[in-house]
Symmetry: C2
Subunit: 415 residues, 2 copies
Amino acid sequence: MPDDFLKLVHLNEAVGVLKGLMTNTGLTTENIKVENACGRVAAEDIKAPTDMPGFERSAMDGFAVKASDTFGAGESLPAYLNIAGEILMGKPAGFEIRESEAARISTGGMMPPGADAVVMVENTEVDGGTVEVFKGVAPGENVILKDEDVSTGSIVISKGTLISPTTVGAMTGLGLMEIEVFGLPVVGIISTGDEVIPPDREPSPGQVRDINTCLLKAAVEKAGCISKSYGIVKDENELLFDTSNRGLDDCDCLMISGGSSMGTRDLTIEVLGRLGEPGLLAHGLYLKPGKPTLIAYCREKPVFGLPGNPGSALAVFNELVVPVLKRLRGEAAENIPRGARVVEAVLETSISSATGRMELVPVSLEKENGTIIATPIFGKSNLIGTLARARGNIRIPEGSEGIEAGATVTIELLD
Amino acid sequence: MPDDFLKLVHLNEAVGVLKGLMTNTGLTTENIKVENACGRVAAEDIKAPTDMPGFERSAMDGFAVKASDTFGAGESLPAYLNIAGEILMGKPAGFEIRESEAARISTGGMMPPGADAVVMVENTEVDGGTVEVFKGVAPGENVILKDEDVSTGSIVISKGTLISPTTVGAMTGLGLMEIEVFGLPVVGIISTGDEVIPPDREPSPGQVRDINTCLLKAAVEKAGCISKSYGIVKDENELLFDTSNRGLDDCDCLMISGGSSMGTRDLTIEVLGRLGEPGLLAHGLYLKPGKPTLIAYCREKPVFGLPGNPGSALAVFNELVVPVLKRLRGEAAENIPRGARVVEAVLETSISSATGRMELVPVSLEKENGTIIATPIFGKSNLIGTLARARGNIRIPEGSEGIEAGATVTIELLD
């Protein structure tokens, strides 16, 4: 690896380059029950098989009428109509509406033949077998046409759409009980570092427990992907290469979370350089935390070297890896960003940012008299304490010099 | 049911009253693996079993030194120290640092005895067995004390905390591989309406497919609860009472999504009135959509009558039911609101709001030249079309008269 290969890239640039390289998005497809499809991605355009609602329906509780019978009706001069009967829900009317007739109808009831409008119940008064209409209606008023909701063949859900509860509802409304969705990408996780031991072991002096494997597994699953862990690899070139190679074979995306030392990082750079073409793309991110991030694309798969610090690894995962995983999940490129879950808070202490990079400042959150107070979590390396206390991030844009205490800030939540 | 019982309540008021009644929150607990605990709620305070990191560590790549040996060192007058050896990652040093000595150390390496500070590698130059130090360090500089991260017995995660990837990371860092979490509440779903048929059946004239059962199942699971469906109940008093009664026995919370007609709503009111004490609490919400919502508390369980329109049912679910479910999940009362996932967009057409109620206006979203355009979805009852197109809501506060086209608006995403 030549020494001058030290390209720092901006986040958008990195995501853009990777998305440009990724041709194999929406890797596989499978047919699943619609009721279980929330959070998955549609692998086909879904078209309406028939007109909906399929029959003329009332949009109101009231009386189905011939609109012409109500023309000119008002408070002072009501129209008088004979009640011909009642439309039962879920049944066609057994009768026709003739001139000067009306039928009781509920919201969603099927319009009887002969009727072309519905008078709202609020604008009527019943007297025996007669209904007084105090407000005229126009033809079609308060009526839903048979294809007014959805017409046959129209695309109701397009390929690449993230399925939400509303999408599930729309599908079942069309009688579509199964849906072709994209398969879930598998994301490999490798931890490195001679000092790192499995978390269920008792560390000897000098050793620390592996945090990143479980943290990233949780983050990968939260991002709607499948995680596959390759455990902890010691800082040995061939060991790391072999494990990475195997991970790249098995998975659709690979993440190597480096030890925190320069030595481990150099090792990861070397391994990423020979995993496959085109190999290492960038050597750092204009992002704090996350500067030492490595970005590679090997054998048509994205590979990331994440910082060893767990908080930094998660920040880079959320900012850089998640957009790439969305593409692997088959989400359409033109999709609206999903945004972060946010709350407003008052900043407890000033933040100065002199890095020139975009910065994510972790904060703890507390409620005081109904106000949410955000306190930045500083400290050189409060790994576990920081992780436990951090509830969200404040995003400080590139070029900003910081935020004064007392300002109202938007917190992007981490849970 | 007396006619004057028609109390409309505000959302906050309704949630507040229900939370006040709910004493049985965090219903059960179970012990699960930490790596699978993301999205669950801690059922106990988690305390650090030992000091962390447990040994003095370097926070930088560089040289471990006696700080006193570097006092006064600068660019023009460096301190010269003998390199006594290198600290290997994950191992204690096999040697002690004496006066005028230094040891190579990596970030995370264990401090050797005798050393009390670390000089960053950037401030040194190595010449054979000697290191030149160009910047003095104070005692403790670039060193993490043995309990600086977390000290024994301190609470790192408190009861009622929603477990996120960072919490998972913190737990594994402490060697805690299992966690006691609250059990997931079971939410019963009943659909009503004579015109409603199971979605896998072909509707006859006058009939419509059940949308709410699957839509609410997806929404309940997205909210981190277990759903249990009771199918479609015809508009018959005893049938609805028996099913509701059974649902209330089985579940921790019950939702009856009403047909759209007044008749079905009246029926639900009657049934809610005799399911158990204290019974029906409110008869409507100052919310659009969602006015006809019914709120009850029967036999120590919250029961909701949701509107029949699927979009309205989902809005009421998200606004009213989800906060109640969070309490049932055991989330601490003082927790920070989780907020909505939001994006900024430009409003395509003006919205006028004259209801006096808080209003949620569904919008479709499209990207045009990098700008997200939000178009309100109007229409008297485009049930399926609306569901399929709606990507988010604009929240119009009570008292607002609307929003002009061209304004930048915050969209709360639905997926």
